[in-house]
């Protein structure tokens, strides 16, 4: 029988609804990041760089782009005969109807057969939501050294922010005695990074038992408290380095912009611990004789005829003559028309922004329909969107779909307004 020391299960089924229109058509792990990558590239690359060569990717919400991106795992050398990457989707089971993945732990429970077929000693649970580089093999050594049933990676956060995280309360030797989700008065500043290593036999037991009690079994809410109650040995593993949850429009924008700094906190330019991704083909970028590009990242195949400042461009982006792109993220295959001006915008993949469009101007009024998502002045354009020529768009706006001139009264979309046009 196949025998793997540790396999990884990557939870990639969540929508990430706080990313608004960016996750309308794709699951959060498939959202583009840093021009060239997708969020899921980070945990997948971490796996292969750590020697974890068997990865189950659990999908549920809008899996198409994720499936196409991962394929058979070629970019990460995860196209393997013995192991490799496997996409695990919810499915119909014999007899009664199928069921969705109801919670993070329930999703693992439903894939026990896959895990058993790999016969692992340990299991690594990851989420496809975070940007970081981490050597899981060192975390495994720690787990073995401590003889733990579970090890949870933690990050020291400022105490005043600890209330936003799942907090591990530990003894002096970092043994966990209590877990508190978003505590009002945090006793510790060790925030869970959502990265767990379990000794598989222990987790398996817990999953099977908890199944009877919680059909929506969740690691943070059910499994970890349950194992702590049982007195199982659980340790916190302190991680030092860059780790970013890109869960909101603002944090997504900021984390991208950090890459632009001359010496970024998170360095993609080192050969050690490379991040791999799937890109169609990798032609050069072109900057025309009139182009100005400063403080920006520009990905393969982009053609720049205008001006780009402090921005991130994906692959095959075209910035037309006379256009000015500032403080913005323009994802792959998008065209910015001639003489258009964009400020603090996120334009998703495969969009066409017409000529002479002005976007991101005016007052900072929160979005009318989703003020808790769009409120920091960033205007967001969903994928496959068309913005007609000559339109003026404010801040905190959302545009999605094949929009036409008549969707914009007097050729304007004021700050905080949205235009969403359904259909193909």
């Amino acid at each position: 029988m196949r025998k793997k020391e540790m396999i990884a299960m990557l939870l990639a089924g969540g929508q990430g609804s706080r990313l608004g229109v960016l996750t309308r058509k794709v699951a959060k792990p498939a959202v583009a990041y840093g021009g060239k990558f997708r969020i899921i590239d980070f945990p997948l690359s971490n796996c292969i760089n750590s020697g974890v060569d068997t990865v189950g990717v659990l999908t549920q919400y809008q899996p198409l782009r994720l499936n196409q991106h991962i394929g058979i795992g070629i970019p990460w050398d995860l196209d393997k005969k013995n192991g490799g990457v496997t996409i695990l989707a919810p499915h119909v089971k014999g007899g009664d109807a199928g069921e969705w993945f109801m919670g993070t732990a329930n999703a693992i429970y439903q894939n026990i057969d896959y895990i058993d077929s790999n016969n692992p000693e340990y299991i690594l649970i990851l989420s496809g939501d975070h940007i970081y580089k981490m050597d899981y093999s060192r975390m495994l050594s720690y787990h073995k050294e401590k003889g733990a049933a579970a090890t949870i990676a933690v990050l020291e956060v400022p105490f005043e922010e600890a209330g936003r995280f799942g907090i591990m309360n530990t003894k002096d030797d970092d043994r966990i005695y209590e877990f508190e989700e978003k505590p009002d008065n945090p006793k510790s500043n060790l925030a869970s990074m959502g990265i767990y290593i379990f000794t598989w036999s222990r987790l398996r037991e817990a999953l099977v038992e908890d199944r009877e009690i919680h059909p929506d079994s969740d690691f943070g809410m059910h499994i970890i408290p349950k194992m702590l109650d049982e007195g199982q040995t659980m340790y916190a593993y302190r991680f030092q380095g860059y780790w970013k949850d890109v869960g909101t429009i603002e944090s997504y924008w900021e984390s991208n912009m950090e890459l632009i700094k001359a010496l970024p906190a998170f360095n993609l330019y080192e050969d050690f611990w490379k991040i791999y991704t799937n890109s169609d083909h990798q032609p050069p970028t072109y900057t025309s004789p009139e182009a100005v590009v400063k403080e920006s990242l520009v990905t393969d195949g982009s053609e720049i005829y205008g001006e780009v400042y402090h921005s991130i461009l994906g692959s095959q982006v075209v910035v037309g003559k006379g256009a000015v792109v500032r403080d913005s993220i323009i994802m792959g295959n998008t065209v910015i028309g001639e003489n258009s001006v964009l400020e603090r915008c996120i334009v998703d993949e495969d969009c066409v922004v017409g000529n002479g469009v002005h976007m991101g101007m005016g007052e900072n009024v929160p979005n009318e329909t989703k003020p808790n998502i769009y409120n920091t002045g960033i205007t967001v354009i969903g994928c496959h969107t068309r913005v007609p020529d000559g339109i003026t768009v404010g801040k905190n706006c959302v545009i999605y779909g094949n929009t036409q001139e008549e969707d914009y009264a007097e050729g304007r979309l004021d700050s905080g307004k949205s235009v969403v046009r359904e259909g193909k």
């Binding site: 070629i74 032609p283 900057t287 520009v298 780009v308």
Partner: protein
């Protein structure tokens, strides 16, 4: 269409490319910021549905073989077909290096014998073009040809570097002159042929043991009257880097033209290369990059004008790069001037260095790994 491919990637082109081919085959030379020369023919094969391709190489083939470690970048078949790299080997009866194009195929006769495809498409790994071989083979079949030679009518001064065809109204070959001093026509051979696999085996068995090692000179020309040899006109962009530094420079600079980039990079099917997954190119605040193509992983702090910059290059503040080709991994310090130059891979210029060629016809060339 059932065909197999052979890419001749043998030589260093008799040293015409100088230090650039000191340590690599011409087919492995970097082209257009992201590619190597052989990517173009490999992609043509794959994009034309040819799933089984042999690359014949002998001269300094390490960098070429390194590039070809996997066939997956070009999507060649695996169980059916694949990518084969043949280098000369020593057997009990024969310890010869390849002595010519025909000889290199002859020494790997098993490849031809074990295939069952009807046709063989032969091309050369140092040509830069995008051709659908499907159409070439189609023309070969329609004409009932024994051999078809792709050609192009060229307006260029150095026609005497090419094989020159003369054809009759039907397109059948009337004469073929290899590198004639006074070319009769402007129809230059592109070094791309179609021949039936069985006929190729027969011809090689007949000629190579007689010491006739060159496919064109010794075999095609000798058989010109007996065999039905036809020309196939190709009108797309075609160029070769084999004729010298000037040609290599021009091919690279051609990618600064939109129509050339569109043809190769923006119009499907694409030219594929070995994936390197470098991060995006980074333009820092003092960067001023104009009229340039740029590979991924490059970081700019200085000025660049009318140049071809490969992957993972670094330019320092105050540096100026103009009319130059800068290959992968070069590092240009602060306040350097690089003009009319080719820097081969991993050249390192310390702050303030100047590398200036007299003109774009008289380039300064620094070999791989030079440190100044």
């Amino acid at each position: 269409m059932k065909a197999i491919g052979i890419i001749l990637a043998g030589g260093n082109n008799e040293g015409r490319l100088g230090v650039l081919t000191d340590h690599r085959a011409a087919a492995a030379l970097p082209i257009g910021s992201s590619y190597r020369a052989i990517d173009f023919t490999l992609s043509n094969m794959s994009n034309s549905g040819i799933g089984k391709v042999a690359v014949l190489t002998q001269y300094n083939s390490r960098s070429l073989k390194d590039h070809l470690t996997s066939s997956k970048w070009w999507d060649f078949g695996r169980k059916q077909g694949g990518l084969f790299v043949f280098t000369p080997y020593i057997s009990s009866t024969d310890s010869n290096w390849f002595r010519g194009t025909a000889d290199s195929i002859y020494q790997n006769m098993t490849y031809l014998m074990r295939s069952n495809e009807e046709y063989v498409v032969i091309t050369s790994g140092d040509s830069i073009y995008k051709m659908d071989y499907h159409k070439l083979v189609q023309s070969h079949k329609e004409k009932g040809a024994d051999i078809t030679i792709a050609y192009q009518e060229m307006e260029r001064k150095d026609l005497n570097n090419f094989g020159i065809l003369e054809t009759n109204e039907e397109g059948r070959l009337v004469s073929f002159e290899e590198k004639p001093e006074y070319p009769k026509t402007k129809k230059a051979s592109l070094g791309t042929y179609v021949i039936s696999r069985i006929l190729l085996v027969d011809l090689l068995n007949e000629f190579v043991p007689q010491g006739k090692y060159d496919l064109v000179k010794d075999i095609l020309l000798a058989k010109r009257e007996e065999l039905k040899i036809f020309g196939y006109e190709f009108n797309g962009y075609w160029n070769t880097i084999s004729t010298g530094i000037g040609a290599y420079y021009k091919v690279n600079m051609d990618f600064l033209k939109k129509e050339i980039r569109d043809a190769f990079m923006n119009e499907y099917p694409y030219i594929e290369t070995k994936a390197k997954d470098e991060p995006p190119a980074k333009y820092n605040k003092d960067a001023d990059v104009r009229d340039a193509i740029v590979g991924s992983g490059t970081i700019f702090n200085g000025r660049v004008e009318h140049s071809v910059i490969f992957r993972k290059v670094y330019t320092g503040e105050g540096s100026v790069v103009k009319n130059s080709i800068i290959m992968e991994g070069c590092r240009i310090g602060k306040n350097c001037v690089v003009e009319n130059a080719i820097l081969d891979k991993e050249v390192i210029l310390s702050d303030g260095q100047q590398v200036i060629g007299k003109s774009t016809q008289d380039l300064a060339i620094l070999k791989k790994g030079t440190r100044l």
